[in-house]
Every structure is written in C-alpha cells, then in structure tokens.
C-alpha cells in the first residue's frame, strides 16, 4: 500500500524543499544525456575534449552548449546531479525491499497493463521502450521533466513549469483514458 497522500505529499514536498535549501532544485532527465555521453565518450574519446584553459567542449552541439556544462559532467561523472540519480535508485531499491518487495507478476508488468493488453512481456516492453524514447525526447526538448519542470518549476512559480505541466497533462490524460478502460 502507498502512503496516505497527506503524509506522502508532505514528505515529497520536504524532499524538494531540502534540495533547494541545501543545494539546488531536483532534476533528472539531463542525466540520461550525461549517461549517453559517458557511453559515447567511452567508445570514441574524441567526443568530449578539454581545451587548454581547462573548459570542456564536445563535437556534439548539444553536449557543447551553455559553455560545455554537459561535456564537463560527461568528463566528470562523479558530480552532484549524476550521483543524485544513482542514489535515487539505491533509495528506491531499499524502500521496496523494506516493504517486502514486489510480486513476480508486478515485476513482469503492472496489473493495469495486464488487464487491458494481456500478459505478453514483448508487448509491454515495446510500449515502455517507445514510451521511454518519447518521454526523454520530449523532456530534452522541453529542457526538463516531471521532476525539474513540473515539480521543481511549479514549486518556484516558474512560468515554464506551468507551461510544461499544461502540455504534459493535456496529452497524458486523454492517452490514459483511451488506453486503460478496464480496471484491475
């Protein structure tokens, strides 16, 4: 069972507050780019380079933008934002273990998907793979995701956060209402 929304909401709000208080607002989707960059740079070491004055740049225009800040993170994976995402996985893992872990059925696919689209692992994988592609392409186009734009943005009363949330829910609600008609 999930936490009551009054408890869960305060805990989630406290997490976003602590992040701003101690460091900076939470964001995740950039780290998909950083991880791509790390993999790419491992294969081809000419992708990210350091100039004579110590700054980082890249042959890829996206990694090189904003003074090479993404290129710098690729070259130094042990930075706050990247370690943050690794720690999220650790926290999620420990939390799930502490509440007894997920059932085999759920690990395979969520019940809501199974009741609407059947038990095929391949179909579910295809859906989440395509979903992941569209989500990250969209998040990078928008410059942030649910964490960085919607949560951190709206906490700070950022106009961009409201624009992002409007777009996200405008697409997500009709899609979910169309896809998930049967209840588990």
């Amino acid at each position: 069972m999930v936490l009551n929304w009054k408890v869960g909401g305060v805990l989630l709000g406290l997490t976003f507050f602590l992040a701003v208080l101690l460091v900076k607002p939470i964001g995740v989707s950039t780290q998909f780019v950083i991880f791509d960059g790390i993999l790419w740079d491992a294969i081809d070491q000419t992708v990210v380079t350091q100039t004579d004055d110590g700054a980082y740049t890249s042959t890829n225009a996206y990694l090189a933008k904003s003074g090479g800040k993404y290129a710098k993170s690729v070259a130094n994976p042990l930075n706050y934002s990247f370690v943050f995402v690794i720690a999220m996985m650790l926290g999620g893992f420990l939390s799930a273990m502490a509440r007894g872990g997920l059932s085999r059925q759920e690990k395979k696919m969520p019940a809501l998907w199974r009741v609407n689209f059947g038990d095929s692992q391949g179909t579910r994988f295809l859906a989440t793979f395509v979903g992941g592609f569209v989500v990250l392409y969209g998040a990078r186009l928008a410059g942030g995701c649910t964490s960085g734009h919607m949560m951190s943005g709206m906490v700070q009363t950022a106009l961009s956060g409201y624009i992002f949330a409007a777009g996200a829910f405008l697409a997500a609600i009709p899609t979910a209402m169309f896809l998930f008609r049967q209840e588990p």
Partner: protein
C-alpha cells in the same frame, strides 16, 4: 560534501517516490485516466508544501534565494510536455520514476530506460535542427517567475511580490489537494453509504 548531499537527498527522493506510488505505473495510469486521484493529491500537496517552505524560508532569510533555478519558457517546453505526457501515460514512467521503478525490480522499466537513452541520444543528434526552427527561442521573458522574487536573478511576469505570491499559490495547491475528489471518471470502487 556535495556528493554526500547527492547521496542523502537522492536516496530520500527515490524512497519517497517508491512509497507514494509514483514509480508504480498502476497509480500513474489510474491517476491519468482519472479513476484514482490519490497520487494527484499527493503531488499537489507536495508542490504546495515545497512552495510554502521555500518562499517562507526566503522571507525569514533562512533559504538562499540564489539556490533557485528557473528554467526558460519557450514553445518547445509545451511541445516537449505533450510528448512527455503521451509517453508517460503509455509507459507509466517518467525519467525519475522510471529509474526508481527499475531499481525496485520492475523489468519493464529497464526497457523504458533503454528507450529513454535512445530518445535522449536522438535529441542530441537533432538538437541543431530543432534549434533552427526557433522552437527554443525564449517566449514571455524566458526564465521568469510569476511574481518578482526579491533578490532573485529572474524577472517576474508580474510585479507582484514573488515570495508572497509563492506562498499564496502554495496554499492554493494545498487547498486543491484537499478538495480534489479521489475519483472523477468511471464507477466508484465501493458502494456509497446509504
């Protein structure tokens, strides 16, 4: 020090996402098809709580205004939001909850991450072309807040005091969290009391 904070806050965030059901596609799907808004109430209360604490802390001088990081507004924010919304509904995952879900043992989340890495790479490849469309050009002042936050490096859409407005909006989010029904669409889970 910053790595230690990354470990602590990151782990707390991951654990909270697991406990509120945000990394569970069943709760995401039921929130988005409007049959169970429990998670929506959690999210609204979180935004409200975060806002009240942050702006309240700023007014009391306890929170460094310089820690704010406001993203720019441009057309791509809306279009990217639409894309993310579609993929979020289809998969039940967003970037943060996808990695947490994979860590909790959900195998379909691994396919989400693989797709996500490819999607991010596709954006890296198409970024110059996207940039020439003008979709990334700032609109409405770019990186702006709704009010003008005292001491912040960001402009305000309005000249209203941004910290007071932030607390007021935070309270509105909290209020909406309380009045939002648990369910809008479909049949009620339980028979209403006579």
């Amino acid at each position: 020090m910053s790595i230690l904070l990354a470990l602590l806050i990151g782990a707390a965030f991951g654990a909270v996402l697991d406990r509120i059901g945000a990394s569970n596609p069943n709760y995401i799907g039921k929130m988005l098809n409007l049959t169970n808004l429990h998670l929506m109430k959690t999210i609204l209360l979180a935004i409200g709580t975060g806002s009240v604490l942050m702006f309240g802390g700023q007014m009391l001088g306890m929170v460094d205004v310089g820690h704010m990081s406001v993203k720019s507004a441009y057309l791509g924010v809306f279009i990217g939001g639409l894309l993310l919304g579609f993929g979020w509904a289809l998969s039940g995952y967003c970037p943060g909850t996808g990695v947490v879900a994979a860590a909790t043992g959900r195998r379909d989340a691994l396919a989400f991450i693989a797709g996500g890495l490819l999607g991010a790479a596709a954006y890296m490849a198409t970024y110059p072309a996207i940039k020439t469309t003008g979709m990334l050009d700032a609109i409405a002042g770019g990186a702006v807040t709704l009010g003008t936050v005292p001491g912040a490096k960001y402009e305000g859409v309005t000249t209203l005091p941004g910290d007071v407005l932030g607390i007021a909006l935070g309270l509105v989010f909290i209020l909406v969290a309380f009045i939002l029904p648990e369910r809008i669409a479909g049949q009620p889970d339980v028979v209403a009391a006579e």
